[in-house]
C-alpha cells in the first residue's frame, strides 16, 4: 500500500479538524456544555465576590494538544485528566492569534490585547495588565496581586507604563530562579547554566540590576531565610517545582486574591529532546494538581477560589514543513495557535466541555467579570459559557 504525501496531508487535516470534544468526553466522563441550561454560576456567586480569589497558571511554555488532552497525549496528564477535569469547565478550542513568544504571549494573556513588544527585551506590556485593572478598580493593595514567573525576561510582566495605570499599580513579581541565583551567588558553573533558562534562545537572558531588595522579599514576605530557601531548592528537581514552592509560600503568607503563575519547564522542547518535553508536561501536570490541592486546603483559598490552567500557546505541527514539529513554535500554524483551557473551583460548572472557540485574550475580561472590574482597554470578549 502506498504511503504518499497526500496521506500525510490527509492525516494533518484529520488531526486539525478532529472534533475537539473527543478530547475528554470519553476519557473523563464529561458532558457537553451546549446541553446545559444557560445561566452564569457567577451570578449565583455574587455574594461571595468580595472574597473571590483567582489563580491563573500558564501550562508552559507551549504544549500541543497531541501531548496533552488529545487521546494520544492523555497518558501524560493523569492528574489533570483524572482529578481536575471532572471538576472543571473545560474549553477545548482556545486560539492565540498573537505573537508566539513566551513573554509577549504571556503579556497578551495578562492585558487582554495581542501585544507586539519585543519578546526578548526587558520591557513592560504596552497595555494595562489585569493586575492594574484589579487593583485600581477594587482598590486593592500591592500585596493582593502577585506574579510568580520563571526568569528575568518576565520581570516586567506585572504592570504597564500606561498613563492612569503604570508603575506601582500592578502586581508584584517574584522570579524564583533569580532569587536562587542571588542566594547562590558564586555558585557552580552548572547552576549558572540552569539559570540561563530562556529556552527559545538558550544562553540568553536579559540582565537585571539589583538583587538585594529581592532577597529581602524572602525574609520579609515569604518568612524564609536565604539559607532555608537554598536548602529547600536542593530538594527540588526543576525550576517549576521551585515556582510552586514559592507560590505556596505566597499563598500562606500573603494570600493574594489574584495570583498568576507562569510555568516554563515544558519549553525545554526547544532543545529538541522529545523525552524531556514529555517529562516537562508530566511534571507540570503533577504540579498543577498539587497547586489545586493547596487551594482546596488553604483556609484563605478553599471554597472561594477559581483556578485557570491554560498553555500560552501550542507548538508547531509535525506536518508543517516550515517547522520541526514539537521543537519550536515558529510557524504560526493551527497546532501552534490552538490550545485548551481548564477552569475549576468557585463558581464554575463541574465536568462540562465547551467547544465554543474562544481566544486567549478573552481571559482578562472574563476574570474581570468574575472579580468585579472592567478591563477597559482589553480587546478580548467575555467567555459567556463561563460568566
Amino acid at each position: 500500500m502506498n504511503v504518499d504525501r497526500s496521506s500525510v496531508r490527509r492525516e494533518t487535516a484529520s488531526l486539525v479538524s478532529r472534533s475537539r470534544r473527543e478530547f475528554l468526553r470519553d476519557a473523563a466522563g464529561l458532558v457537553a456544555g451546549g446541553a446545559l441550561v444557560q445561566g452564569s454560576p457567577f451570578i449565583r456567586a455574587e455574594t461571595v465576590r468580595k472574597k473571590r480569589k483567582v489563580v491563573v497558571v500558564t501550562f508552559g511554555g507551549g504544549a500541543r494538544d497531541q501531548e496533552t488532552f488529545a487521546p494520544e497525549g492523555q497518558e501524560n496528564i493523569p492528574h489533570m485528566l483524572g482529578e481536575m477535569a471532572p471538576q472543571s469547565s473545560f474549553f477545548t478550542h482556545v486560539t492565540n492569534q498573537g505573537i508566539l513568544g513566551h513573554y509577549v504571549a504571556t503579556a497578551s494573556l495578562a492585558t487582554g490585547v495581542y501585544e507586539t513588544l519585543n519578546n526578548f527585551a526587558s520591557v513592560a506590556p504596552e497595555h494595562p495588565t489585569i493586575f492594574e485593572y484589579f487593583r485600581k478598580e477594587l482598590r486593592r493593595p500591592s500585596s493582593d496581586a502577585w506574579v510568580v514567573a520563571p526568569s528575568n525576561g518576565f520581570h516586567r510582566i506585572g504592570e504597564s507604563e500606561v498613563r492612569g495605570f503604570g508603575p506601582g499599580q500592578g502586581a508584584r513579581v517574584i522570579l524564583p530562579k533569580r532569587l536562587l541565583g542571588l542566594a547562590n551567588s558564586g555558585g557552580t558553573a552548572d547552576l549558572e547554566h540552569l539559570l540561563h533558562d530562556n529556552y527559545e534562545t538558550p544562553l540568553y537572558t536579559p540582565a537585571l540590576a539589583g538583587g538585594e531588595i529581592e532577597l529581602q522579599q524572602l525574609e520579609a514576605i515569604l518568612k524564609l531565610s536565604v539559607g532555608d530557601f537554598s536548602s529547600h531548592a536542593r530538594t527540588l528537581s526543576s525550576p517549576d517545582e521551585l515556582s510552586l514552592y514559592i507560590a505556596k509560600r505566597l499563598m500562606r503568607e500573603e494570600a493574594p486574591s489574584l495570583l498568576w503563575i507562569t510555568m516554563h519547564d515544558i519549553d525545554v522542547a526547544h532543545s529538541g529532546a522529545y523525552s524531556l518535553y514529555i517529562e516537562g508536561i508530566r511534571r507540570t501536570d503533577r504540579l498543577c494538581a498539587e497547586l489545586w490541592k493547596t487551594i482546596e486546603t488553604e483556609p484563605e483559598y478553599a471554597g472561594n477560589t477559581t483556578m485557570f490552567v491554560l498553555p500560552d500557546f501550542g507548538r508547531d505541527s509535525d506536518f508543517d514543513a516550515g517547522g520541526n514539529g514539537f521543537q519550536h513554535h515558529r510557524t504560526g500554524d493551527a497546532a501552534s495557535r490552538t490550545t485548551w483551557m481548564m477552569v475549576l473551583g468557585a463558581g464554575t460548572r463541574r465536568g462540562v466541555v465547551y467547544d465554543t472557540p474562544i481566544q486567549s485574550i478573552d481571559l482578562v475580561p472574563s476574570i474581570g467579570a468574575m472579580m468585579g472590574f472592567s478591563p477597559s482597554q482589553s480587546s478580548g470578549k467575555l467567555i459567556r459559557d463561563l460568566v
Binding site: N184, T188, A233, R234, P239, H270, D318, Q327, G332
Partner: protein, 402 residues
C-alpha cells in the same frame, strides 16, 4: 533599496558562482516584490556551498521567473505584493544580508499580523513551482533507515506506536550482524548509483567504518566544532548590547574556518556541518537532537536517496538539585530518554522523506538496535499490521527498497 534598483554591481559581495547566477538573472530579480526577493537571495548567496540538487533547484526557479509574463508574475506574486513592510526593512541591506533580513521580516510580520498572509503567499508560490517540476527519474527508490535505542537492554513500552499504522511492525528480526548488514546495503546502493551527496550516514555517536562513496557526519567527530561554537556563543553573549537577534547575526556570518573546520575538507560539506550547529537548536548539546536535525537537513537540502541514521545515547539532563549540589561534572548518559527522542526522530525522518518527490515509491525501516523489533514502511508493506515471523534485517530492507 527596492528590487527594481538592483544592478549587476549589487552582487559584488557575493561568492563567485552566486554572483554569476545573480547577474545572469538580474532582470528577473528586479521584478520581484521586496517581501519575497530576499528569501530567494538567501538561497542564492550560498549557491557556491549548496548541494548539486539545491543548485539545480535555484537555477530552475530563476529560469521559471524569467519566463513569467507580466500577467503571470502578478498572479504568482499578488500575495507578496500586498504585504507591507516598514521603511527600516526596505532600507535594510537585504541584498548582502538576506538571511538577517528574512529574520527581521518574520518578526515584523508577526507583530503586524501579516504572517498568515505571508504563509499563504509562500505556499501558493511553492505549489506553482512544484507544478512546473518534472517527475524525477531516479534509478533507486528512496530508502530511509533509522537505528534507535543503542545501549538500552530492556524497554517495556510499546515502540514505534505512531509509525505502526503506516507499515508492518516486526517483532522477530534477527540481530546477527544487523548493523553491518545495513551499512553493507547502503554501500551497495552508493556504488550502484554513485551520485554525489545522494547516499548518507548520520551517526549520533561514533561512525561505523563505511565506504567513501557514502557522505557521513557524526556527533563525536564534530565535538571540537561544537565546543568551539559554544565558547564563541558564550563570549558573544557577554558582550555589552548583545541580544538574541545580534547573536543570530553573528552565527550566520561564521565560516567553517572560524570554528576550526579544516580548510582541506569539501567546502560544501564543511558549510553543511557548520550550519548543523549554527542554525540548529540543541544540536550542540544533545546527540539525539543532532541526529534528528541532521536527518531533516540531509533530506530537505540534499534530498538523499539513501539515508542511514543511527541514534546514540545522549547526555542526561541533570535535575536542579544535582546542579545545586555541584560536584560531578562528567556527562552521564540517558539511554532510555534517548530511545524516546529517537523514536520521535524516526517518525520525523519518515515525514521528511515523504515530503520528497517519489514518496509513493520510497521505503523506510526503523529498527530497535540489538533487539527484534522493527517497523517497515513501503509500497508493498501492509499497513497497521504486525508480523511475528522470523526475518533478517537485510531481507526486511530488501522488501521496502527493491
Amino acid at each position: 533599496m527596492l528590487p527594481g534598483d538592483l544592478k549587476a554591481e549589487s552582487f559584488a559581495g557575493y561568492p563567485p558562482q552566486a554572483r554569476a547566477i545573480a547577474v545572469e538573472h538580474v532582470e528577473a530579480l528586479r521584478r520581484l516584490p521586496i517581501a519575497f526577493a530576499p528569501s530567494l537571495l538567501r538561497e542564492l548567496i550560498d549557491y557556491d556551498y549548496k548541494f548539486p540538487i539545491e543548485r539545480s533547484t535555484i537555477e530552475k526557479e530563476l529560469r521559471a521567473l524569467n519566463a513569467l509574463s507580466d500577467a503571470q508574475r502578478h498572479e504568482w506574486f499578488g500575495g507578496f505584493e500586498s504585504i507591507s513592510l516598514s521603511p527600516s526593512l526596505e532600507n535594510f541591506n537585504w541584498v548582502n544580508l538576506p538571511a538577517q533580513f528574512v529574520e527581521q521580516e518574520a518578526a515584523y510580520l508577526w507583530s503586524t499580523h501579516q504572517l498568515d498572509a505571508f504563509r499563504k503567499a509562500a505556499k501558493d508560490y511553492g505549489d506553482r513551482l512544484n507544478q512546473l517540476a518534472k517527475p524525477e527519474s531516479r534509478k533507486q527508490r528512496r530508502l530511509g533507515i533509522a537505528v534507535v535505542g543503542g545501549g538500552v537492554a530492556t524497554y517495556k513500552e510499546p515502540l514505534f506506536r505512531i509509525l505502526r499504522k503506516h507499515g508492518t511492525y516486526f517483532t522477530n528480526v534477527s540481530t546477527k550482524d544487523a548493523f553491518k548488514s545495513i551499512v553493507d546495503l547502503v554501500e551497495r546502493r552508493a556504488e550502484a548509483d554513485p551520485i554525489p551527496y545522494a547516499h548518507w550516514y548520520v551517526d549520533g555517536g561514533r561512525l561505523h567504518p563505511h565506504s567513501e562513496h557514502i557522505t557521513s557526519v557524526s556527533y563525536e567527530a564534530l565535538a571540537p566544532v561544537r565546543d568551539s561554537l559554544l565558547k564563541r556563543m558564550q563570549s558573544e553573549i557577554n558582550r555589552p548590547g548583545m541580544g538574541p537577534e545580534e547573536l543570530r547575526t553573528v552565527l550566520a556570518r561564521l565560516n567553517p574556518a572560524d570554528l576550526g573546520i579544516g580548510a582541506d575538507l569539501d567546502p560544501v560539506l564543511s558549510r553543511f556541518q557548520l550550519k548543523l550547529f549554527s542554525e540548529g537548536s540543541g544540536t550542540q548539546i544533545y546527540s539525539t537532537t543532532f541526529a534528528q536535525w541532521a536527518t531533516r537537513e540531509v533530506l530537505r537540502r540534499a534530498q538523499a536517496n539513501t539515508l542511514l541514521v543511527r541514534y546514540a545515547p545522549r547526555q542526561r539532563q541533570r535535575p536542579m538539585n544535582e546542579l545545586l549540589a555541584g560536584g560531578r561534572s562528567e556527562a552521564e548518559l540517558d539511554p532510555v530518554g534517548s530511545l524516546v527522542d529517537a523514536e520521535m526522530g524516526a517518525y520525523y525522518h519518515w515525514i521528511n522523506q515523504q515530503r520528497l518527490p517519489g514518496s509513493d515509491r520510497s521505503g523506510f525501516v526503523a529498527w530497535f538496535e540489538g533487539h527484534g523489533e522493527a517497523i517497515a514502511i513501503g509500497p508493498t508493506m501492509p499497513r497497521g499490521t504486525e508480523s511475528n515471523s522470523a526475518i533478517g534485517l537485510q531481507e526486511l530492507l530488501s522488501l521496502v527498497s527493491a
